[in-house]
Symmetry: C2
DNA sequence: GGTCAACATTTTGTATACCATACACCTGAT
DNA sequence: ATCAGGTGTATGGTATACAAAATGTTGACC
């Protein structure tokens, strides 16, 4: 056995560009972009230095992130993680509702009883005690619940399309969870969705999902008047440099 | 009045990268990517030469196009315009149905009677003589009809999300239009959709739109068994080099 | 003391040079 | 003649050099 047997190529097709894209995406996902003093400016040279590569793959990765809507490239100014305005968040919730309610239809048609059972377990885990204030844990499961529906639809494109909204929806759901009576309401909604799915009634399932998500929409619409609008954001983003 | 008053500067933020992105996007949109012998390979150097710029902005534009799904970058091989497989097309139709049926709900809520009237005019233009074989013209109006619904929803994100699918859906709709009894069926569907919108019944409108689009889905599912699958596509794309 | 302008610095946009790889073609051996 | 191996070439990936623009700073003048 020669030593070269262990020199298996890292991976047939590995490019710094793709790697950088994933790393940056992950990094942005893990930072709380809605925290007040968050550093939204991404410095190319700094990133390049820290990852010990040149600016070129960084820039190509940033171009992709920009297309995905995660960052905004302002010519001659730099790239900034985009904070969504209240209106944009509302639109994202609408699109999410569209995607997930369609997913629910497909789940009714395609999912096995076993899959539905795992979904039920998700929800049951918290239904016994919806009052408990383990918001962090619950909201994680809550998000996973919705992702599971997208996945069980079997339509890959529904899932990937929703993925683009995911980062922001996740932040929004976490934030909304603690407000008013939403946690309890959410648990009830989830049970209703599961029952609709189990009854194999596409219209009912679709409607349950849509109503659930649109409740989030209405909640945001009513209570989050404080979110910054586009102009203010731009201003504060620049000053934060 | 000095001469400098007319020297308003071209545009404050103009980058070759963005310009290239738009030009390439437009170019890909205008070529019939499903034509049998289409040239799917994009040569960076050739593009750079022809546009008289360097490869850097080309590559950043290509990275964005790849993220949008219009092209596929195979490391060390090149970039190719992506032809969708039958399964991917079916998924796109599903997502389209999800988006447009949600848009219909919003149209019911938000659109003015005048807007609905213009939509009706679109459809009436062809309802008198659905047999006529002016497929090209009709299918253009057909596509515009659906775009109009997305636009009238007032939800920008619904529209832009659908835009990503648009190129392929458009090609598919054109192709399907001539098959079986779809043209007549389409005209009838459109009238039904308009009436549902005018009745301001969100559920009805949503269902009409969804059923209309899903009919396209079923049609493709049943009749387009001939479309290439992923492996064949890759093979033919490479040989076309 | 404040304001504006010129200069320095920082940072992005673009071009180009270089490197690595995939593939084709050529050569030689069986 | 055919196939294996090697070598050359074309092409994409990465690094770096350079240009242009925006911002920060300093200093002079009001």
């Amino acid at each position: 056995m020669s030593i070269s047997d262990n020199l298996r190529p890292i991976s047939v097709s590995f490019t710094l560009k793709d790697h950088t894209f994933q790393v940056l995406r992950e990094a942005i996902l893990n930072m709380d972009i809605y925290a007040p003093g968050a550093n939204l400016k991404l410095d190319e040279r700094q990133l390049a230095e820290r990852m010990a590569i040149s600016r070129t793959p960084i820039r190509e990765a940033l171009a992709r992130l920009a297309q995905e809507g995660l960052v905004e490239i302002i010519p001659r100014r730099g790239v900034f993680v985009t904070r969504k305005t209240r209106e944009e968040i509302l639109e994202m919730v609408v699109v999410w509702a569209a995607l997930e309610s369609m997913a629910a239809r497909l789940v009714v048609r395609n999912a096995t009883d076993e899959e539905l059972a795992t979904l039920r377990n998700f929800a049951l885990r918290h239904s016994s005690d919806p009052e408990r204030a383990e918001f962090k844990e619950y909201s994680d499961d809550n998000i996973r619940f919705h992702q599971a529906i997208l996945e069980m639809s079997g339509c890959e494109l529904l899932r990937t399309t929703a993925d683009g909204l995911f980062l922001h929806i996740q932040a929004v759901r976490r934030r909304a969870m603690g407000e008013s009576d939403r946690a309890r309401r959410s648990v009830a909604d989830h049970m209703e969705i599961i029952e609709a799915l189990e009854s194999r009634d596409a219209d009912l399932a679709s409607r349950s999902v849509r109503k659930h998500t649109m409740r989030l929409h209405d909640h945001i619409h009513k209570t989050w008047s404080g979110l910054k609008h586009a102009e203010e954001q731009k201003a504060s983003a620049l000053e934060a440099k």
